[in-house]
């Protein structure tokens, strides 16, 4: 097939670029300018143990704000795209797709625990690996579990979207608080730094990361809901 051959030929061109990048690459032996600033300053400036978290929530907080916005956008668009289906399904009533009773009971027990785990992950984001995104994903998986075992279970879309929006608004508001009371937009230092390594430390970082976690969790859930509930136009 000429088409396939052509694709391979041009991908080979791309491979040449990649090989050049690979052969020209040598790992740094010392941290570069930016990285060493973070290594030295994250602890004294922000009081966060997890430097990646420090970067994500403050130094590159704008990226993160953009990132949760991406999810917000996607959730909104997915809901928008599939909105017709939902109205239809509401008319048709519940579909017979029962899960086993064991599974249902099990998941009802399991779901709150997963939820709790998720919250633990994002609250501790500034101390240990993990944080808002991972925690949010875990929260969403609890929702997913409930969805799988009892597909007809009505999740309140309004509740989810309220959580999503409130978290988002608070994120922006905290950013502006940083502008007013600290060094600039998204500066987390308007709250006290606390003890290094304690749960309530690192200024507003845990707060922000929790909001991110809530928001991400809500957004993932919303996406899953939209995709699972949709019914195509007929």
């Amino acid at each position: 097939m000429t088409n396939r051959l052509l694709t391979v030929a041009f991908l080979a061109g791309l491979a040449v670029i990649f090989i050049q990048l690979l052969s020209g690459y040598a790992p740094d032996t010392d941290l570069n300018l930016t990285a060493s600033y973070y290594a030295n300053q994250t602890a004294p400036d922000l009081g966060a143990q997890n430097i990646v978290t420090g970067i994500i929530v403050t130094y590159r907080g704008l990226d993160t704000l953009g990132e949760v916005t991406v999810l917000f956008l996607t959730a909104a668009i997915v809901a928008l795209v599939l909105v017709h289906g939902r109205a239809l399904e509401a008319e048709r009533g519940p579909k017979p797709f029962p899960a086993g009773e064991l599974l249902q009971t099990g998941s009802r027990l399991l779901a709150p625990m997963i939820l709790l785990l998720g919250i633990y992950v994002f609250v501790n984001g500034h101390l240990t690996p993990g944080g808002g995104f991972q925690g949010g994903a875990i929260v969403a998986s609890a929702v997913l579990l409930l969805l799988l075992t009892d597909p007809m279970r009505r999740f309140s879309h309004r509740l989810i979207s309220r959580i999503e929006s409130t978290a988002g608004l608070l994120f922006v508001a905290i950013g502006l608080l940083g502008l007013l009371f600290a060094g600039g937009f998204l500066d987390a230092r308007f709250l006290p730094q606390g003890w290094f390594g304690a749960l309530f430390s690192a200024g507003a970082i845990p707060l922000i990361y929790s909001l991110i976690g809530l928001k991400v969790g809500a957004e993932f859930s919303s996406m899953l809901l939209s995709l699972s509930e949709t019914e195509d136009e007929k």
């Binding site: 694709t7 041009f10 990048l21 130094y59 704000l65 917000f72």
Partner: protein
């Protein structure tokens, strides 16, 4: 004053979007109002900052997270950023207003998506962090994916998916590029990266290439842009406006920013890709019929042009922002406006835009947008075009200029063709009911266009065409006067006509004292002559919408042309008169294709003039027209050629003439004399100026004035020949104009005093008899309802005044004594005798009798011979059309008696250029030359006596003649298939055609048609590249990147 923090733009957009999520689904109106308020607030912040920067405030830098720049994301804002932010947020606000219904229908979610999209583009403009740039870019991509679905067109779904596929490719390149650039420079901050030695490292340069190419890919470069066209075609027009005006602006600015890191090495790549896209998209645009897809092609082309300019920023230096900004802003406003307009009706063919004609205001707005896109004065693109060409030429970028101008001419072609459709095609019967808010948005966009025009005029180093604050009122008034007619276009035509004539005469009186003799001659013809022609316009009834603004724009341009003191003023006037006359010509019934070829040739000629000026300027723009004499020797011949070609386009020299016959013949009765009698003089004025200042020029061994001499002679011969073979009376006159202009060119190219005097005589004579003939033939055509001469005949008794005018005109024109044409001939033969080139002279001599042939045909077939049955009840032409003709008759008689009235002063003036040559002696009643004398009064008397004698003798001979009724002849019973072929006036000069027909074969027409067809076919063929398959589009993106890599290997 405390300025709001620019972070607020981002925070407002985001906050409002999140806030919308809290609202109940039903509260759509509140959600909509929040959206509008947020956009208005974002625009306000941008506007305040723009004012601050315009007032001289220093650029600001804003850090986030309370951490200094390279370590945290930072924003920067200066004048350019503020201007673009205002553009982005205002356009978004207007688009949101425009999409009111759609937004209310789809609810708060779509509004949130919209807000985030706008916020993200603002972020692209502001951020100085390359990864942050990526995040904002992704936001725009995803938001677009959602906004595309606002369309009711089902096909938008496929288009959106194709876009997402292509963006996945872009994401891969961008991320890989960013991380290796980070590795090479140790930073993500653009300014820090630019200062690092990143490019010196192997991976660094390659990484930069990937970043750059990924961002360029967002600009829809050829050929990786099929997805964008599909979006333009299918998306909601409110979104397409945003996509074209706002998103592309953001991406362009991102490229501009990122190029900072690459230094100068990478600029040629940007220019190359930009130019390729510009030209290719425009060529493909030629073959488009769908309006939105056409706008898509045009958008892509314009963005390509700006990219090419970004690549030339080192060359352009200080004027870079002025040029790029002018083109970008004009494009954005016009494109957004046109997309918004396209949503005002359902049908999607270009020809369906005729519906605009139901609202004259919308037509005015449409032409505003088209003029903005094509860079016509007074819009920003005009100033930018001027600066661009001057900047590039000053650095010897000749090929670049040629390619840009070629592409621009193609764009002009399809945009003006579209305008022609709007004005000339059949309007639909139905009426479209446009909601008020949509019209409001379109009107606001047009208003923004005019504001931009004013601002760019202020920013330009030259004159602001729209400003009254200019020392010399005479320079300002003409355009203002013309613009006045846009405002009062609702008045009855007669009132406007009075104002127009009064204005022109008053302006002439005011300027009279400041004219030199040459200007005086041209000025009288333009202003007084123009006013006389406008007497015929009293004939029109009703409002005559559009006529006066166009005519006055043309006259304003002409009036400004002859007093232009420097190259810029000259060029601006030239473009003005071109546009005005184009609108005028377009008004004719069947003039659409001819008006199109007129504007294409004219703007092509204007480009030649612009390039010529730029070449002559040599960094000193604008220069005094007079200093054309001091152009450096190495460029002088090229300047001469470019300017001469430009001017000869207007005089319709052979080879460049094909636009003229149709344009002049199809024009309205009173427009034909304007564009023939008056407008053609612009070209002659240019040639006069050129030869006066630059004199003889040689390109190698070739004497360029000799070339002009040959062109003049050939034009005279072929123009006359073609005139003789026309069946259409107005076409005959049109071809005759070509021939006449050939004579004038010939006279000028003789480069002696008598030759110039002859050319000047032609300027005057041609105005008079061509205006007169066009009016009388036009009057006849009006009464008979045809212009075909074989359908006329015997009108002498019914239309005696028209006959007298034609008769006098012909006598004057053919150079038969006693009228002024004879004087022209006399000077002409004197001039020839004093020149050294004999061969072209034979041609000129030959064309004399041929000229007589077509004139004879004119008078014979229309007024003599047999009257047609259906014409028996015809009346004389309307009074207002006859009146100017009678004025001309009187003037011709007067001018024949005392030609010295005007010429004496000109003769003295010309002595300045030929101090050693013997001129004419004007003392006494006779005019004397080296070769003899011309005594107008005596000739008049002699001819009069001879005429009376002959007439008396003939009457005496015919005293016994018997009168026969005209219509009692019985023809044969057979009815020929084409009855006209049996008429004696059909193919009147068949024998001559047999002998000389080979010379009037439409070689030139075929040549230009061939080029047009070839380009069109090329466009039609190459657009098949865009198969519509998303996979193909993605593959084209891959090909684009790999090819760009191969091309740029030298730089890595």
């Amino acid at each position: 004053m405390v300025m709001p923090n620019i972070i607020l733009i981002i925070a407002t957009g985001l906050g409002a979007a999140f806030l919308l999520g809290l609202l109940r689904e039903e509260k759509r109106l509140s959600a909509y109002l929040i959206t509008l308020a947020a956009l208005a607030f974002m625009s306000l912040i941008s506007g305040l900052w723009l004012i601050a920067f315009a007032g001289g405030a220093a650029p600001i830098e804003v850090t986030t997270a309370g951490t200094p720049a390279p370590f945290a994301i930072n924003f920067k804002m200066g004048l350019a950023e503020a201007a673009l932010l205002l553009l982005i947020n205002l356009t978004a606000l207007l688009s949101a207003i425009y999409m009111q219904q759609t937004m209310l229908r789809l609810g708060r979610r779509i509004m949130a998506v919209f807000l985030i999209a706008v916020m993200a583009v603002s972020g692209i403009i502001l951020t100085r962090d390359v990864f942050n740039l990526f995040v904002f870019l992704e936001l725009v991509v995803i938001a677009s994916g959602g906004l595309v679905l606002m369309s009711t067109d089902k096909r938008a779904l496929g288009a959106g998916f194709k876009y997402l596929m292509v963006s996945e490719f872009i994401t891969v390149f961008l991320l890989i590029g960013i991380i290796f650039a980070y590795h090479a420079s140790g930073s993500l901050n653009i300014d820090t990266m630019a200062a690092s030695d990143m490019l010196a490292k192997q991976g660094g340069a390659l990484a930069f290439f990937l970043i750059l190419i990924a961002l360029i890919a967002e600009l829809k470069p050829f050929p990786a842009n099929g997805w964008a066209l599909d979006i333009y075609e299918s998306a909601h027009p409110g979104f397409s406006a945003l996509f074209s005006a706002v998103f592309a602006t953001g991406a362009l600015f991102a490229v501009d920013k990122v190029l900072l890191m690459g230094g100068t090495t990478w600029l040629p790549l940007a220019t190359g890709i930009g130019l390729l896209t510009f030209v290719a998209s425009n060529i493909m645009g030629l073959a488009q019929h769908n309006d939105r897809r056409l706008l898509g092609y045009s958008s892509i082309a314009q963005v390509g042009l700006v990219l090419a300019i970004i690549g030339q920023r080192e060359v352009l230096g200080d004027s870079y922002l002025f040029v790029a900004g002018g083109i970008l802003l004009a494009h954005a406003v016009a494109k957004a406006g046109l997309f918004w307009m396209s949503g005002m009706f359902e049908a999607r063919d270009l020809k369906d835009w005729t519906v605009l004609r139901q609202k004259p205001l919308m037509v005015g707005i449409f032409i505003t947008f088209i003029a903005m896109l094509t860079g016509l004065p007074p819009f920003p693109g005009f100033y930018a075009k001027w600066e661009l060409v001057h900047g590039l030429i000053a650095h010897n970028q000749f090929w670049l200029v040629a390619v840009i101008l070629f592409g621009a001419l193609i764009e002009v072609t399809y945009l003006m063709r579209w305008f022609g459709y709007v004005i000339k095609r059949d309007a639909p019967r139905y009426t479209e009911d446009t909601p008020f808010h949509k019209e409001l948005v379109v009107v606001l966009a047009a208003a923004a266009g005019w504001v931009l025009a004013y601002v760019w005029g202020e920013l330009s180093a030259y004159r602001n065409l729209l400003s009254l604050a200019e020392g010399n009122l005479l320079v300002v008034l003409p355009l203002m006067f013309a613009l006045l007619f846009f405002m009062i276009d609702g008045l009855p035509a007669r009132i406007k006509n009075i104002i127009a004539i009064a204005g022109m005469v008053a302006y002439f009186i005011a300027s009279y004292s400041s004219y030199d003799p040459l200007q005086l001659i041209f000025g009288s013809i333009i202003l007084l002559g123009g006013a006389v022609i406008m007497l015929a316009s009293f004939h029109a009834e009703g409002r005559r919408t559009g006529f006066y603004p166009s005519a006055m724009l043309m006259y304003a341009g002409l009036a400004l042309l002859i007093i232009a003191e420097n190259s810029f003023a000259f060029f601006a006037a030239w473009e003005m008169l071109t546009i005005g006359s184009y609108f005028l010509i377009l008004r004719g019934k069947a003039s659409e294709p001819h008006a199109l070829s007129y504007i294409i040739f004219s703007l092509g000629g204007a480009f030649a003039i612009l390039t010529g000026f730029a070449l002559a300027a040599h960094g000193q723009a604008p220069f005094e027209i007079a200093s054309l004499a001091d152009v450096r020797e190495d460029v002088a011949p090229y300047v001469f050629i470019l300017l001469a070609v430009g001017f000869m386009t207007k005089t319709a020299a052979i080879g460049l003439h094909i636009w003229l016959p149709g344009a002049h013949a199809e024009a309205e009765t009173d427009v034909s004399p304007m564009v023939s009698g008056v407008l053609l003089k612009a070209g002659l004025f240019g040639l006069f100026t050129l030869l006066m200042t630059m004199g003889r020029q040689h390109l190698g061994p070739v004497d360029l004035t000799l070339v002009l001499l040959w062109i003049g002679a050939l034009t005279a011969l072929l123009g006359n020949l073609m005139a003789a073979f026309q069946e259409d009376a107005k076409r005959l006159l049109a071809y005759s104009s070509i021939g006449q202009m050939g004579y004038a060119l010939f006279g000028l190219a003789l480069m002696n005093k008598l030759g110039w005097l002859m050319a000047l005589l032609f300027v005057i004579n041609h105005y008079i008899y061509k205006s007169m003939l066009f009016l009388s033939v036009g009057g006849v055509a009006k009464r008979t309802g045809t212009r075909a001469m074989y359908k006329m005949g015997g009108l002498i008794a019914l239309m005696p005044l028209s006959f007298i005018a034609v008769m006098i005109g012909i006598i004057a024109m053919s150079g038969v004594p006693p009228l002024s044409g004879y004087g022209g001939r006399w000077v002409f033969y004197n001039a020839i005798m004093s020149a050294e080139h004999r061969l072209p002279m034979i041609l000129i001599f030959l064309s004399g009798p041929i000229g007589f042939l077509y004139l004879f045909r004119l008078v014979h077939t229309i007024f003599l011979g047999q009257l047609k049955d259906e014409h028996r009840r015809l009346k004389e032409a309307p009074f207002w059309i006859i009146l100017p003709q009678m004025i001309y008759v009187l003037f011709l008689l007067g001018f024949a008696v005392v030609p010295g009235l005007a010429l004496r002063r000109v003769d003295a003036y010309l002595t300045r250029f030929f101090p050693n040559e013997f001129g004419l002696d004007w003392t006494g009643p006779a005019i004397t030359s080296e070769y003899g004398y011309w005594a107008p009064v005596s000739i008049m008397i002699v001819i009069g006596v001879i005429f009376c004698l002959v007439l008396g003798w003939m009457l005496f001979l015919n005293r016994n003649a018997q009168k026969v009724k005209q219509f009692n002849i019985v023809y044969s019973a057979e009815r020929p298939y084409r009855p006209e072929t049996t008429h004696y006036a059909w193919n009147f000069y068949a024998p001559y055609r047999k002998a000389l027909g080979f010379m009037v074969q439409p070689f030139v027409t075929n040549f230009w048609n061939g080029i047009a067809t070839a380009l069109h076919n090329l466009g039609d063929f190459s657009r098949r590249l865009y198969t519509g398959n998303g996979q193909t589009y993605a593959f084209q993106m891959l090909i684009f990147v790999v090819m760009a890599y191969l091309v740029s290997r030298g730089m890595i």
